[in-house]
Point group: D2
Chain length 349, copies 4
């Protein structure tokens, strides 16, 4: 656990889930935050390490989520719907709330009516800043309600944003996004479909249409996308392949657009061609890290640009992005606590 | 090995590869064929079972591919380029040749110039019948050169054909096909990218544009498709997701189109919704079998139909399809030798 | 579903579990049995194919387990404890009961006190025949209560039995058995430890000591074994490695012992050395089949013989063994319904 | 790459292999070393990141291994036999050599005759210090030839050492060690058995007897072990299960022995029982880290103690251990560069 008089006192609500565990790992290694509470209804009083074996050295026990301590920052890693119910309570306990669920990502109550089951605390929606720092960096400093972007939305947006910024894609252009995701997206709960015998080796369409992340993508990228997700056999990772049909472009145009978008970004790297095994973005190359790999290929015969982006859904798609956003919000070094660069080789990852 | 005076004497050239092994497995259990030779340069004189452990009971040794025996039927499971070189030799040895490579799938020497490195025996191209029985069943009886359809092409064509047949897709409609394939597509040879440490847990774009199977798809489906393939972590399987934007259709229209296309087909089943874990086509559900699962979903918000198809690339995508085609060609029961219905649960598969 | 006036009418109780699904698959392809009922509390009235996607063509719906039909044979694939509670009811409905649980494997109520939580119907224990046909074939014809052997016990017993039969192992010799098992052993229910994120890529000791199958092994092999099981990343399969320290033996002695034990066995094959990738028994080589592979290696430096055995825990370790036993009991061909020889390559398996 | 005038200039010979890549990752993040050269015959002049995608940010290209630069420290991550051939050359270039191969682990030329194919530079054997810091920490300061311990030997020794130290195991006690290893042990080269289709889902006995690591174990633990290794489906990891039959002991005795051995060790943690999924050592819990998990279970019925140990074979079993040893040798903080604590959940790992 990070120590020091200047560190912000920090709570993680929902600490026994996969995302909560990632938050605890990152915050424990971060000089700017000091974890003072991690809550879990199911594992109340158990050590954090009994649930997250990588944190066995962490001297911390889960506490009842009903009794929040007073802190500088509260990270909420709870299922959809919990944060909107408890948001007043969160702000009673903390000055700043970083929410990792979908509860404050969209701007309007109407959007929650359309895509979710409505919203319990719509008065907070204006106050929340959507956190995908590559997109909303300038709105983060000073924000006190941060809504960390969703994993599939993040992968999709990062892959397509350079084309939009460069004027190569118009709002009504037809865009297909085909996403492949790992089993950690389903969370620690599981169910029959998540059991190892049923989930091993799959290519399984899920939410083949109408995925809720379409709403985030449309709102923040300004683009309608025809989105389909498939479960594949990995634990961590989301890979988004975009199929777009812009006006004729050259490979040079694409390189310019992507370099322009990301050359200053600490967590985005361009991977498009080259030699060896890893010539395009893939989740294995970023497993465990907050990096996103983004790339593209030109298909002149079909008038198509194929875009690729790969993230670790638990990191750049969730806990890592939340910490990155908090770093920006509090003026810390952007990469603080997020320095791990990944492994090679790595399995699932 | 099947016995009986009426069985056709049969050779498998390239018997130590994955596809050759599948052929040997299927033919050994088929009443209409009697295996008299299996060739392998690398494993000359070794037992078939020393390479393919599921065939340890088969009393057969590989022989040198240079010395072909005289047979009724020769199945060639050799790498691209070998069959076109040896096709005269094959016909010296056999009355009928069933080729599993890409060497005789396309119709013209020009197509081979465009998509491959040209063709050594273009005079055979007219004679060859492309074998995807759901498409070309009527041309197969009596054919003496059968070119078994490619795995990714088969998955793609089966998913989209009902829309084309029903007039819901026009030749110039924009169609995206995003395919996920298992490691057995790479064959027994392997290389760094196929090694277990590098191949486990991947979502890896490969041949992101310009995949050669586009040629088959365009030729036999009459449709340009923007095709991209990804390697994922399974051994057997190909899953093709089509994203198409037809004129407005209802779910009933789609059911009609797909039922019309496949209700008589012994190896195609429609899977589109329902309850439980397996609501859409997936490779696990057909692993080891010659079945294809085909399905769809309607995305009214985006004016899109998403199509799904799943096959075992070694079976319906290769050896199974070749045997199915031979069954039709020789007038055997279509399902002869292809009765295995698969397992549940199954891992990779 | 098999038809024919001579087939035995058959029920499967517990048909929606993994083992029940395997039974339904095998019986549906078996000429001697006709499935008339498959029960499932959770999936009452659902089609069998909605749970077991490999059986989508089977025209059968689950029924309530409380309402058993009158049949010739009832296969019970229920969790431990159910069969002993319902055994009277089972015999009211059926002439012959084949039980796949542990409820009737041991001989005495005392053994159930020691290893389980006692027994509800000890009066049936004498009547039950333990079914591991390689061991108890002669007791099976005419048996009306058949207790199919457990997966880990089967793998262990098959590996060591030749040494016992040949007098190379005495009852008090020290024997270590280290078993590796797939996730299907945990059944369809699952839990946190069985979820894909937690179960992928594991080598996880479970029941490191005191595994209940020790009781079966001691009872039927006449040998105390120090048994430890590990969960590893496969779906189907159990692999048992025995470490034994007999009086000095030669490799020839071992070959004699193993050949003597198994040369007539239709489902056991010896694999001990040779060339290629598959030189020792491994679960991949028998996945989906009722085969067991058995082998050994000599370690003269340590005075040790290492024995290997590999089975598909769902087949030779459960449903396949039950059908094999029923074949013997009813005088069918021993391999009836169990002809499938497996695939190569196969993933998980 | 670490910078700073006080850092030791460092070369990695064999930098494109898996172990070499791990070394480069660790050294690049280590304040005490500055990488000045990484050699690779196959990838000469390619960027390190083109082979190891986690190191894409590293500004370094491979160079020809024939042209060694003058450095303070040279780490050799080459196949067995290379270091013994080039050792004079290594010392011409460097003051200190840390060798990760087996070339300098054993003490005598005779041992190399017995277990390997002899030795080319036996005059160096006395000079080399075997590096398993938990065992040989005191010999490391000032050593100029460090032979980093093997992965399977490390896992085995760490699991059994407390029993030996506590006098619970005598030199002639019978000890069985059954090891399960991941595919990265085979290195980046691969071959048919390492290809994804053949290696996925395996439980494959390899080197079932006569494994060369027996020599290390006997030499440094002073115990003969009957050792057998199995390949299982993970990429990183080695898990060693020891089956030992000591004089009667209590669980308290075992806890005392293990605590005594490891309570001061920064990289060893005891895991023996408790609640949750991770109750015993497993490779997933230490993937990517230099930690070893060690534990045990008592089997009174069989007079047995089962010991468990789990490491990441690339880290505590290779590169991490080498860096740890170098830290001790040069007086750095023992955990310098080795702080990463791992991920949860993690797949393969």
């Amino acid at each position: 656990m990070s120590e020091g008089s200047d560190a912000l006192s920090t709570a993680v609500v929902g600490g026994s889930g996969f995302t909560g565990g990632e938050l605890l790992r990152l915050l424990a290694g971060h000089p700017g935050f000091e974890i003072v509470q991690a809550t879990s209804r199911s594992y109340d009083r158990k050590t954090v390490g009994s649930v997250h074996p990588n944190l066995r050295e962490l001297d911390l026990r889960f506490t009842d989520p009903a009794e929040l301590e007073s802190v500088d920052v509260l990270f909420a890693a709870t299922p959809h719907g919990v944060s909107m119910e408890r948001i007043d309570e969160f702000f009673d306990a903390a000055d700043t709330v970083v929410d990792l669920s979908a509860d404050f990502r969209l701007n309007t109550a109407e959007a929650y009516e359309e895509w979710y089951d409505g919203h319990d605390a719509p008065e907070y929606l204006d106050r929340a800043v959507y956190a995908l720092p590559e997109l909303t960096r300038e709105q983060l400093p000073g924000a006190d309600l941060i809504a960390s972007g969703g994993c599939n939305a993040t992968a999709t947006i990062l892959g397509l944003k350079p084309l939009v910024d460069a004027g190569l894609l118009a709002a009504d252009d037809r865009v297909v996004v085909d996403v492949k995701v790992g089993s950690s997206e389903g969370g620690a709960g599981g169910g029959a479909a998540s059991s190892h015998p049923e989930r091993s080796g799959v290519v399984r369409p899920y939410a083949p249409t109408g995925h809720r992340h379409e709403a985030e993508i449309e709102t923040f990228l300004g683009l309608d996308v025809a989105f389909t997700a498939h479960a594949v056999d990995m634990v961590r990772g989301a890979s988004a392949t975009g199929h777009v049909f812009p006006e004729p472009v050259s490979k040079g145009d694409l390189w310019s657009a992507y370099r322009e978008a990301y050359e200053e970004e600490p967590f985005v790297r361009l991977v498009a061609g080259g030699s060896g095994v890893y010539r395009y973005p893939e989740p294995k190359a970023v497993a465990g890290t907050n990096h996103a790999e983004v790339g593209f290929e030109l298909d002149p015969g079909n008038g198509r640009v194929v875009t690729f982006s790969a993230i670790d859904n638990m990191m750049k798609g969730s806990a890592g992005q939340a910490v990155h956003a908090a770093n920006v919000a509090f003026g810390f070094e952007e990469t603080a606590g997020l320095e791990f660069g990944g492994l090679h080789p790595v399995g699932s990852p």
